[in-house]
Each structure stands twice: as structure tokens, then as C-alpha cells.
Subunit: 314 residues, 2 copies
């Protein structure tokens, strides 16, 4: 089966872990082992997030030249280079010799009128202590929100992906059997100007929404969103919280979820299966194969896996 | 004709110009116009340098976290993302709608025993004043050399490219007529470890040498190396200096050139035409088309353009 895998940026630079090259490289190695295992039985196309990394690049640039801030589209492109390289290298090291792999930079068009530009919600970079966060906020005029227990984190606009530019070359490679890594960080955000030319914008696109578009465009069977959470839960944080194993998009519509990173995953899952995809899976990175096989995580599909069960809780 | 174009890193962030996002973007626009003009008559594959940019990324990372230096392979990958994105965007803006373009990250294998690792020669980043350079050298334990009038510049090892990893997907796209941007910064430098796994190394590969390998692997007709120098000169700096218009590799062997950025271009040009390439051209970015047409710049080929003329000086 053809699977588009969306790898969480937090799976590569973990929450609370120092943002060092070594930490990132070690995490990529773990991710690559999970992907390689999946690639033994399926054709995979890999997309990835960049939340922690794009924030780090912004801090590095601002630290060196505070008066010359680098725009988020260019920083996003840098993260596509950095993360894409590390994934390609470790994935190729884990796959049989002779496997062909290509990592493509991917621009993704967004709507300049997207309301997200007036309402930044996407957290990027590290979580700061309240004191440190207030200093950084004042220095850079960044929008910050609370995260965790009293911490502060920068947020930026996260408009919806409208079109994946360069989808033809991606499709050509995928159909030739090449293992493709693309759409890193949800894609480099660009808009069409009044003159028809594309130009970068200050945003970070949600990688799950872009991965959904990508899976649709490539006619993938499965959209697999891997993160550090075991599954989608009903009544999260309540005494009766329960992991959802199998669910339909219609049943998901009837449930409510806390705002956060799970929201875009659920929307992407519903959109993908409603557009004809066989199944969307959500769960932990190390469970990749088991989610596809139906042993752990959450699977979303139009038709329930077994007759009569639309939602089965584990 | 199929042309591999190697774009100098200095053409994108000019010597002496402040290293701002705006300056780089403006220069990329100029380069894209020249490339688009060439692409009207030929199939182009674009490679580019990253000397100024990879040094800048190193400074940014060191400025934010001096105790956690980022390795040159990862920084090189970041520059492939940043520069590749900007070139793709402006080139696509300049080409007719419907043109397909793909920018691929490219790892290039080098020999861990390459003597270049003990003898850093590749200048990266900005040129510092003597005083500033000495401070930076002491801070980072970097190797510095003098450049220009008393300035100092960081140098890093520049091993020879041995193999372009992922050449199959590049070839597939090129043969399908896609405009490909790849091998940025000479490629991300990697070596094969004793366990067979590839890993990054502290180096910056010369982009002209890698572009030569690329042109050979793709069966290109022309290798075109664009820089900020008009042509290859005989007796450069002497009263009788003369631009070389047409020359054979054998005739080039008999001449001597000052060590510097022209050396790798000449070696790449000779290697390419000796391996079967029709012609290698060297000259200014804005003269791209005119160099191919034989009006300006230097052309290297096995057979002279007209019978009886092996070297013609303008």
C-alpha cells in the first residue's frame, strides 16, 4: 500500500530536550528505524513537521543579527534542508542498499486572505520560563502564549494549505518507486501576488493538513500521522477517558476535542478518507506498523473495520 | 542542449555586501532572470555554491549557542534548503506557467582519507577586519586565512566529490523534462563509515567539481560555470593579461593560474570535456547565454571551435 507518513516535529526535537544537533540526530535515527520497518511492507512518502526547529532557526538568526530578522518562509526552507537531510541519511542507512530516495523542497500555496494571518496559533521554538519568555517577547515583538505549567511559547500564523506546488515531480518519483521525503514543515508558505508571482509569507503551515493534501494528490491508500501521543482519546483528561481504536469521520464530527495539535490531525484524517482514502491512522512513532495493522493507535475510515462497530474503545 | 549550470555562491551574496535576507533575495532574482533566459533555448539543471551562506549559518548557530556548534554537513543542508527555495521560487516566477521544477537535497560522498581534511582551503562566511577576525578565530578555534587587503576569512576542508548520492532520481526528473535544482553548496558532504552507514563530515565541497560530476552523470552537453569574473585570463595581473575565449584542455594544462576559485573551475572544465562533454563555459552570470553562444567568456573543448585556432584571445 502507498502510505503518506506525517512525522511530528516534536518526534525529532522532543519537548523539554535541549535543542542540540546530537539530540536531533539521535531522534531522527529512532524515527528512521520506524519508517524503514514500515517501508519493508509498503511504499512510503515521508512528510515532517518543523515547529521546534523553525523557532530555533529564528532564534539563531536573531541572535546573530537582531536588526535583520530572517523571514519564516526562508527559515522554513532551511528546516526542510536540515531535517530532510537527516531523515534521508538515516532512512537510507536503515533501508536495503539500492533503494532510491529523494528529498524535495516543497512550496505550498496559502491564501493571503486566510484569517489565520490575524490570529497566530502555531507554536514554534522552545518553551520559555515566564520570565525569559517576557524578555524575548519584548525583544522581538513576537506573539507568545502560555504552554505547559506557566511557560511561554512563540506562536505564528498557520494558514491552511491550498495547493502543493511541484506536485508533478513528486508524483513522477513516487510512481517510479522512489522513496520520497517532501513537504517538510507543512511546506514553505507562499502566496500568489497581484502580479501573478509567488512570494514567501510569514507563516508555518500545519504539516498534518499539508500531508492530507499530499496523500490525496498522490492517491495514497493511507495517511499516517505519527506523534508522541498513543491515540485519539474521547473525554481526554476526564475519569472516563478512552483511546479510540476505530472511528468514522461522521462519528468524529459528533465528538469534541481540546484545541491543540490533535485538532488538525483529526480534520486531516476526516478530509482524507472522505476524499477517497482508505484509512487515516494516528498514534505514536514507534507504533507505525502496528497502527497500520490495527493493533494500536486510532484508525479513521468511512466504512468500519468490522460490521456493526463504528467506534470501538480499547 | 542539456546544460548543467553552476552558480557561484558569491553571485547570490556578493563580496562586501551585507548578508541580509533582502540582499540575497535581490541577487537571486537577478540570477533567476539569467537562468530563465537560458532555459528558453536549453534544458537546464542548476547547481549552486554556498560559501558565504554556510559561513553565515555557522555564525548564527554559534551566536545563539556557542557551546553547541552545528556541524558543517547540517549547515550545508540548511543552505541547500534556503538557497534552493529562493532559486526555485524566482526561476519559476520567470519561466512560463506550467513549467515543472524540482529542488532536491543532494548528499555527496567524499573520501575520509582525502588530504583536504588536514589542509582547510575553502573560504566560507564573511571577510572580517584583521582585529575582528582574530577575535572570532580565538572564540571558535576556526582556521582563518588572509583575504583581500588585510582581511581574514574562515577556511574549512574541501575534499573532492567522489559520488553524487541520489543521482537516479535526479536523472529520472531531468529525463522527464523537469527543471532540476540540486547539488547545492557542492552537495552535503558525507563519508561511508566502517559499518557501511553514511555520516556527515566537517567540510564544504567545491560546487564546480561537483557540478562537473553531475554534468557527466547526466550526459549533459555543456557545463556552464557562472561567477563574477568575465573569463579565464592568461597572465592575470600582468601587463599582458588576456581573456581566453576558446581553449583546449591540453592547452590549459600548459598554463598556470593563481590559486583561488578559478582553479577548480578549470579542473572541472577539463575533466568534463575529456569525459565526453561537448563544451565547458566560464564567465559572468549575466552573460550566461552569450557564453554558450560564443560571444563572451571562456569556452573549453577538446576540438577547437574553428580549424586552426586552439587559443584565441580577445
Amino acid at each position: 500500500m502507498r502510505i503518506v507518513v506525517a512525522l511530528g516535529g516534536n518526534a525529532l526535537l522532543k519537548r523539554g530536550e535541549p535543542m542540540t544537533p546530537e539530540a536531533q540526530h539521535n531522534n531522527v535515527r529512532v524515527a528512521a528505524a520506524a519508517l524503514a520497518s514500515l517501508a519493508r511492507d509498503h511504499q512510503i512518502v515521508v512528510a515532517h513537521g518543523n515547529g521546534p526547529q523553525v523557532g530555533l532557526m529564528a532564534l539563531q538568526a536573531a541572535s546573530y543579527a537582531p536588526d535583520n530578522p530572517w523571514p519564516l518562509d526562508v527559515l522554513g526552507a532551511e528546516t526542510e534542508g536540515m531535517i530532510g537531510y537527516l531523515i534521508e541519511q538515516e532512512l537510507m542507512n536503515a533501508l536495503p542498499p539500492g533503494t532510491d530516495c529523494a528529498t524535495l523542497l516543497t512550496r505550498v500555496e496559502v491564501d493571503p486572505q486566510d484569517p489565520a494571518f490575524d490570529n497566530p496559533t502555531k507554536p514554534i521554538g522552545p518553551v520559555y520560563s515566564a520570565e525569559e519568555g517576557r524578555l524575548i517577547q519584548a525583544d522581538h515583538d513576537w506573539t507568545m502564549v502560555t504552554e505547559g505549567q506557566g511557560g511561554l511559547r512563540r506562536v505564528v500564523p498557520s494558514p491552511l494549505p491550498v495547493a502543493i506546488l511541484g506536485i508533478n515531480p513528486i508524483r513522477l518519483l513516487v510512481e517510479a518507486g522512489v522513496c520520497v521525503i517532501c513537504a517538510g514543515g507543512g511546506g514553505i508558505p507562499v502566496v500568489r501576488g497581484k502580479d501573478g508571482a509567488m512570494k514567501g509569507v510569514e507563516a508555518v503551515i500545519d504539516k498534518d493538513r499539508t500531508s492530507g493534501l499530499l496523500a490525496e494528490a498522490l492517491g495514497a491508500d493511507i495517511l499516517l500521522m505519527l506523534t508522541d501521543v498513543e491515540a485519539v482519546f474521547r473525554n481526554w483528561g476526564e475519569p472516563d477517558q478512552a483511546a479510540i481504536s476505530e472511528i468514522t469521520p461522521d462519528a468524529l464530527d459528533g465528538l469534541s476535542f481540546a484545541v491543540g495539535s490533535m485538532g488538525p490531525k483529526i480534520t486531516a484524517a476526516c478530509d482524507f478518507v472522505r476524499s477517497g482514502g482508505t484509512m487515516a491512522g494516528i498514534g505514536r512513532l514507534q507504533d507505525a506498523g502496528a497502527i497500520v495493522d490495527g493493533r494500536v493507535g486510532t484508525r479513521v475510515r468511512i466504512a468500519p473495520a468490522e460490521p456493526g462497530t463504528t467506534v470501538s474503545d480499547r
